[in-house]
Symmetry: C2
Subunit: 343 residues, 2 copies
């Protein structure tokens, strides 16, 4: 056997049964236009011959691939994986597959990936813009060509023509900081991420708003915007920050779980007691917080649900008969504060 097995195709079944290809195609589709007895014969023969439909040919003919393109800024962040799981679950239940790509935090790669999606491999796109993505011309462009699109997380500028799935970052962090204030904390530190990222901007706004609301002065010294894009450096950055503080805060609001953990780790090393001396809150709640001692109080972000919702919106768009009369939706999912040992 030194040859590649030729695949069985509709034609082979048709020939064997002395019917037309069209009939075979319709029979397998359970189209009522073919006689039940014929359908039966076709089914049996197809099984017997080991027929397997050719997805590519189907797609070319029907103009649908039943694939959803998903573009995330990076793989190694549990949040995005969790969103993908959500997308995958919903998509799978509706007969779609997902093709995940990473823009590796780069605007250029984002554009590159979108171009590749534009080549007709996907029916629609779910995307989380990178922090580098300042303008959305490339997205508008794609949408105007008729590509259905849903955005989630970190939406700096709204894109007319795309659905959006987000949380209210400002509100969520306001609530978290308010929670700390009500515990009697007065010197609250802020650990944020890269300033360019919309979600971090909003979380910062919520932080400031809460302090303002409760007449607590803002100490510039207690604020850190992490710039690192890689785990190893974040570690160092946070360590440095706490080492060079002239006073110790009595609480820390961290913009991600990971920052929260790194904060706790640093504080514990310098002998601080958590939560007695310093309370810590993280953001995200993707399992990491429960492993640590003490466990980390978190703003719980419904990541899986965000994915499900995004998939739902996209598939709805795909099913609209006239794409143009779709009323674009903005969905804001609720967050909640999950209290654990660190506060």
């Amino acid at each position: 056997m030194g040859f590649k097995k030729r695949r069985v195709k509709l034609e082979d079944i048709a020939r064997k049964l002395n019917v037309s290809i069209a009939t075979v195609s319709r029979a397998l589709d359970e189209n009522p236009r073919v006689k039940p007895s014929t359908r039966e014969k076709v089914f049996n023969t197809a099984k017997l011959m080991g027929y397997m439909p050719n997805q590519i040919a189907k797609s070319l003919s029907s103009g649908k691939t039943n694939i959803i393109g998903v573009l995330i800024p990076r793989y190694d962040e549990p949040f995005f994986i969790e969103v993908c799981r959500g997308i995958d679950q919903y998509a799978r239940n509706h007969n779609y597959k997902i093709l995940i790509s990473s823009s590796r935090n780069s605007y250029e790669f984002e554009k590159e990936n979108l171009i590749s999606f534009e080549r007709g491999l996907v029916d629609g796109i779910i995307l989380s813009p990178t922090h580098e993505t300042e303008n959305v011309a490339h997205l508008n462009d794609l949408i105007s060509k008729g590509m259905p699109m849903v955005l989630f997380d970190n939406i700096r500028e709204q894109v007319s023509g795309a659905d959006h799935v987000m949380i209210d970052d400002k509100k969520a962090s306001f609530a978290a900081v308010e929670f700390l204030i009500k515990k009697g904390k007065k010197k609250i530190a802020f650990i944020g991420g890269i300033k360019e990222k919309k979600v971090f901007q909003d979380r910062y706004k919520g932080f400031i708003a809460a302090l303002t609301e409760y007449d607590i002065p803002v100490h510039k010294e207690l604020i850190l915007h992490c710039n690192s894009l890689h785990r190893e450096f974040e570690d160092k950055e946070i360590l440095d920050f706490f080492q060079h503080l002239s006073t110790t805060p009595d609480a820390v609001f961290a913009c991600t779980d990971n920052y929260g953990l790194l904060t706790m780790k640093t504080l514990l090393k310098t002998g601080k007691k958590i939560p007695e001396e310093v309370a810590v809150i993280g953001f995200g709640d993707l399992g990491l917080g429960e492993v640590f001692v003490p466990t980390l109080t978190c703003v719980s972000q419904p990541s899986f649900e965000m994915g499900q919702k995004a998939a739902e919106l996209l598939i709805n768009q795909l099913n609209e008969p006239d794409e143009m009369d779709h009323k674009k939706t903005i969905v804001r999912l609720e967050t909640q504060l999950t209290e654990r040992e660190s506060t």
Copy 2:
């Protein structure tokens, strides 16, 4: 504009330039058969008209999709994500995309996913079998139909006709346990995963082999095979285990990072000092171990490299002119022990 924009195709360019479709196709391919001046014109017009090739049509015509199907048991395990990153990187550099699916730890879903891959959407498959996968008839079947395949991790039974990428689990765990023994540890506990999973079986063998080698008796009581497939339950299972021990071990060899962390967490809660009273080693080393206090000594598994290697092997298979004379390869990647504070 209530209509879907029709895509520009080769025919449109051809008509505009008064040349044939074939010429346009070849021009865009930079085929030397077309005159440089014509190629120039075609390129310009293509750009002007916003031509975007149709990947589906290309695939149907050429018989190649340039997509690699990846099937992993679950998304929410950093190991698999890391392998996927490795695959993705290599694949991308060689003009392939990856389509990831999860078999959700189920043999049935594994088969289902493979059938969907068989529909011609992917050129080849990289797969990590589930723990439920006892026989590999479905894999052999697919391979005999000409589907290139590479297996990684948890290979219970070798599949002739597929390449394999693995680590030597037994050797790695032997080394880890030996390390503990040489530190003077005598009562070493073992925290493994589901017994059906080949990797856990091998890690257990390595553990036993090390004890035997150094004439240390095996205490059944100190051995736990976690059965939980979900994080929440693992937690409880490990807590229970340590609570019901009549004696405390002086070291723990855990078969995953997560088990290692949970172990440390449990021990710390009961007031044990790590590493003075109990040393702990984990397995995997995917970043989690560095967050904890104390940091976790780990067997470092080259996950990213496993992915890269798997992709390399698969793409090599895809490029072989005659698929049948490919000498199937088994690659064993090296592990190493990364010493941190927990030992």
